[in-house]
Symmetry: C2
Subunit: 334 residues, 2 copies
Amino acid sequence: MKTSSRPTLKTVAEISGLAVATVSRALANDPKIAEATRARVAKVAASVGYVPDRAARRLRTGKTMVVNLMLDPHFEILGFGNALLVGLTTALEGSGYNLVVTPHFTDVDSLTPIQHIVTNRQADGVIFTRTAPFDERVRFLQERGFPFVCHGRTEFTEPHAWVDFDNEAFAYAAAMRLIGKGCRRICAVLPPESLTFRQHLRYGLMRAVRESGVDYHIPTSITLDSPIDAIHDWASHIAGTPDRPDGFICPGEASYLAIRNGYGHHGYKVGWDFHAVAKSISGILSQIDPETDTIHEDVEAAGRIMARRIVAMLANPEAGLSQDLQPIDLRFAD
Amino acid sequence: MKTSSRPTLKTVAEISGLAVATVSRALANDPKIAEATRARVAKVAASVGYVPDRAARRLRTGKTMVVNLMLDPHFEILGFGNALLVGLTTALEGSGYNLVVTPHFTDVDSLTPIQHIVTNRQADGVIFTRTAPFDERVRFLQERGFPFVCHGRTEFTEPHAWVDFDNEAFAYAAAMRLIGKGCRRICAVLPPESLTFRQHLRYGLMRAVRESGVDYHIPTSITLDSPIDAIHDWASHIAGTPDRPDGFICPGEASYLAIRNGYGHHGYKVGWDFHAVAKSISGILSQIDPETDTIHEDVEAAGRIMARRIVAMLANPEAGLSQDLQPIDLRFAD
DNA sequence: TGCGCCTTTTATAACGTTTTAAGCATCGCA
DNA sequence: TGCGATGCTTAAAACGTTATAAAAGGCGCA
């Protein structure tokens, strides 16, 4: 009758005059428990506001009911970690799973925090971004049979669950758009070699180049991960060269701005003296340069999908590997 | 000798030939355990890679070792949730506390998720943002004696832990800067009445107005939370009126852009036909309009501080209420 | 009546920890 | 020799679950 502490199975059992075990199984909807009993127990449980103890469950069953998001503080501040998080948390809401967020630095020590989670059973599943072609996290989790969904693909032959934006289609569409506007030399700022989607973007660009015979350029001194000032300076420099690109594919909002301003230094105006197609993530670009062509990547949706995927995998370990390529969403002015 | 499953106290006990209880207390550095034994146990534990089971501990002690961040999906996508998250997770790293992120909609149902956490012991402490003058979350947590740190202050007399940016100083400094540039009518886009920092900003503006005798305007039809298009349209409209403001205080990056573009519609150029001081959060503005004056709010630092605060409060419940006003950081061009 | 066979319920034992109270030496001291 | 301290260790219980195995009750049927 301890009214102050929160109700447990025992509380419900005493009230309903049943054994703890019976209550437990009734709440689990075990068909071996009489229908009437189940209903009665459910009512009592609801009336006292019983909610199962996560720790006790976890201790007993070994299931943590936790999904771990590993996020890289280096890149996710200006990146899309936030929208991803919103998608993840909202989709996880009501699933019983908690999302715990752990920092980990993709470049320096990609594996250790994940190993820790796996070997010490800190979560039932893991989610991460910035996937590499031969990502050691993927390799490790696969060989340990630990559930995970990553944002981005790998080049492993063994299939695994992932969600990805169709960057190949993005780059191709962007390039074709630029070509349609009369661009003769197209430049794409790409992510570093270490990330898989660099290749996807490159393929998209190359396909367009091949089909149209236009010239192209891929900078080697900077990447999407470069400090924004570095991209700016590079753009400003190349704008002064005779073979400066007249069309840009910017797979990120910051890189677009840096390039637009770098060119601006030389008096070149976007939409007039050169063109650009940018990937839109936050949607802020439509405020800054409404006339610039963008293709939207819905990162929040990606988060929702990833959350649903991991929950499905955890509910049913036999669930087939889900692979989800988000189609591009063209938002060109006309 | 089960080599496959992870080591427990029992494992360590068997190896070292001691009782489980002894090992537990040795690892807790209980002085009642002989120094030599403690050392030996520590060595064995380390050698087998023992790491205590969170669930068992939580069940036994009642401490969840979880800090819950409630984030509002409505506002944190374009807001500063991400930087906050980075600050929180990095500062929590190694503290033993996990950060779990829960969505909750500040406007519609601010309290329910928090009540759930408190009454069902889902976390040891709570962190949230967008604090209201008489925030019901603060009231609830205070009367339940549940540890929390919020971003932003309240108007309650009872003190509580918070971390906040000095918005009063920001608004004052911004206004003075605008006045120094010759502005005659200063406008500040403020957050909705429901948020405490609206008043701080207003006080800062009013102080500058009083001291300098300049004219001012506070829009009533839009707030910082308005859709960016609404702000844009409002700016575009007011730019066409005879008493349009010639100086803007923008406590957010998006609002700055919306205003700058709204005025741009009428051919008014920022830095020439009107001036603005914006709060810089992501730092992106220095790319977009390098010449515009900004004052930086270091949200990541706020996150770090909040994390450290809550950990301190949890370690020592007697710890005084910590209140932390982040000073402004002027970054004016000259 | 007695036996087996359902259906429904329950006692018990774990899961890995911390804590309480008790145990066991050893020692000083009478 | 006995006896209380002292210093260290430990057995056992508890936290709230779930799973296993067994018990209880009712019913049909010989």
